[in-house]
Amino acid sequence: MDFKQENIRNFSIIAHIDHGKSTLADRILEITGAVSKREMKDQLLDSMDLERERGITIKLNAVGLKYHYQNETYLLNLIDTPGHVDFSYEVSRSLAACDGAILVVDAVQGIEAQTLSNLYLALNADLKIIPVINKIDLPNANIAKVKEELKKVLGFKEEEILLCSGKTGEGIKELIEAVITRIPAPKINNNAPLKALIFDSYFDPYKGVVGLIKVSDGAVKLKDEIMLMATGKSFVVTELGIHTPKDKPLSKLSSGTVGYICASIKDISSFEVGDTITLKNKPALESIAGYQKIKPMVYSGIFPLESNKFEALKEAFEKLKLNDSALTYEVESSDALGFGFRVGFLGLLHMDIITERLEREFQIPVIVTSPSVIYHVYLTNEEMLLIDNPNKMPPQVKIKRVEEPYIITNIIVPDTYIGAIMKLCQNKRGIYKNMEYLDETRVNIHYELPLSEIVYDFFDKLKSTTKGYASFDYEFLGYKPSNLVKMNILLNGNIIDALSVIVHKDFAYQRGMQMTKKLKETIPRQLFQVPIQAQVGSKVIARETISAMRKNVLAKCYGGDITRKRKLLDKQKEGKKKMKQIGNVEVPQEAFLAILSKEEQ
């Protein structure tokens, strides 16, 4: 597959969730003949089952597509990006491999929070943007209004804006040709030493780690000895090529190209996203800017429901880690739950995905404890500790101050909800910054909020207070001092370490009431009375009591039908399997996430 380098286009599609990005990508694949209609599964780029079900992209993909236009053959490299804030570092690295991006906006919804945050990432990467209004086939499409928003809020010109429908295919051809005519060819530098950006990697059981790369300078060939500039590790290239979307091996990837590379690498963490590949014997002088080590933002304890599944859980994490360099885990032991892992996630979605994969792909039922952010705890001796687990919190007397991570929001809502949003954010310890109108009726509200409040129940509250009309995104801001304390939960008089949380002192009472109430609802009655207490320091701030169970008996005789009695008992036994015995109290899995109570107070 040889192309004139000036006929290469590297681009991405960016959008708010559900604005039809994946369907649009599917249409592009179809029209360029990359896949036949018959092979077409919906949303081909989302290859994980979970992705297809949730309609989101988790892992990135890249495909090279051939397209004929005015007697020339073009190679269009479409680089898919995950659309969620948890993965914004990965998005920024993918965008760094591109020269342009298609910005998809839903013809009914208009601009939403992630439209903005993704657009800012693309503009930061200096990309040429093609704005396109999608879903124009919908009966309630409001093209004129969305056009106005694109012009007024984002400063696009009328003639720049394209219209299309991923569903009917209308406008797709024009869109592809706009990619060719508007997005510049990659900057070519054939003679400099090799510089290639890794923008994604995954583990293939036959090939080892597969890196998705964009070659900016020089070229990389089969059997070259490559070096990773951040880690200094070197490997010999065993295979390289492009995805069409099937793997198509080549002998060389040269400047401007996007493709994949394998080098018998077993460990994905030695091949990190954002790192720069060069040649060992002729290295580049400096690496491509923007590399960061991925840092988890949220930590949770994950414990096997059955304690004999610890080894199986460990193996599962090892396998997940092969494909997910952002995942970190280390052994944690809990008095209540035994041995498990403290696991770091990029965010709540990432956490959801991992726990769901554990149960679905590895069949290991797990207990997930309340997620925690990383606190900076300054001791009286000025030492600073990073605390990702409430149980590692030093005693109050040794603490000088605690700082917690803050974020800044984009909350886009119809202006009738301004009051509700403000009330919600105040309740979440928010600091109002400013607000701008996107059009006559929609605003973008900016608040500074502690990340721990987002981790708690902000999404659900936001959804319920705005009847689902709000879209939300955020950016990490930095650390700020806060009056934080550790709150313990006691069941039947015993502290259950897995239920401890760090809370703001002024909100501790309210949170304690909520947690004890929720626990009372989730823990079934036992043979004896079980008090539930929330405690800060040695002071009990909230208390509920689960009264003793009074009835669980098969009183009836059933005319000697013993088998029926036995079946009823076996059914109850199945229910018990979903419980964890803590001390002498049986606690269901979901009780450990009681703090994430989804109900309104």
Binding site: R550, K551, V553, C557, G559, G560, R566, L569, K573
Partner: protein, 360 residues
Amino acid sequence: MKGVYIHIPFCKSICSYCDFCKVFYDSKWAKQYLQRLNDEIDNYYMGEEIKSIYIGGGTPSCLSLESLEYLLNLTKKFAKMKNIEFTFECNLEDLNLNLLKLLKFYNVTRLSIGIQSFQPHLLNLMGRNHTFKDAKEKIALARSLGFNNINLDLMYGFYNETFDDLRKDLKLYLKLKPDHISAYSLQLEDHTLLKVNNIPSLLADDEAFMYEIIVDCLIRNGYNHYEVSNFAKKGKESVHNLTYWNNEEYYGFGLSASGYIDKVRYTNTKSFFSYLKGNYRLEEKILSKQEIMDNEIMLGLRKIKGINQKEFKEKYQIDLKEAYPITPLLKNKELKQKKEYIFIPEDKLYVMNEILLKMI
């Protein structure tokens, strides 16, 4: 020695709470049914000595005298033990001199009368209709003919039943001086009129309190509480029901009947027409030793006396305490021990499933 249960699936009216297998009474069908019953007994009964017969339903007493005589004649096939307990279930309305004489003639020793309650609003909800006066007269009649072992069923736990309603019922029951009382809480079963009409259930705590009222009242009045739901005057404990709780073997004949013979637990078809065609058995299961032992636990602990460790060892060649986690449960006071017997303490009987679940 084994027990025999015979199911008569006919009723003249259907009670709103009942999920047992039954059809409206029809004399032609009843005759055919009894013929098939005759065949089933001939096919399966192996000639063992029988220590109890229980004819239940449905409403066995709704059969015509002619059919009844046919049915009672069938029991002559069994090799009866000398002091056999022979129970016949009847409705108050059906009790009359002719019926009682017939039962007496065929050596029925025990009557079980499905009274359930005397409270008009509860009887109304159940779809039943009788008065205390009826009961008093009919029971006196039975006693005069020499029936000296009479069980009365008591049902409790209706959503519209008060504690006082129950206390009134107990008072009236005691006046009738029954030899045995079976007190069953209402279970809202699928395919019953109560369930179809979305009748609510009583709060579990209130039901448990009613159970306490019953146990307390009957014990005070000289009844032996010998099984979760059963109470008897001395020596009047039901031999037949104890067969179940002792995990002993018994035949079940008739539509939907269950039996336990030669380590096989079986249940008969619930389809009336299958039964008439002679397709008796619906399912059969050979039990493993573990399952038999588990049943021994599940059933044996229903008895207030509990399980005799020595007998358990003789039966299964393993110590009860070795086969099940008895010791920690004794420590928790969820089980108790008195001489050779391991039992569930009175105050935990109504939550006994929780304890069973820790054992099997």
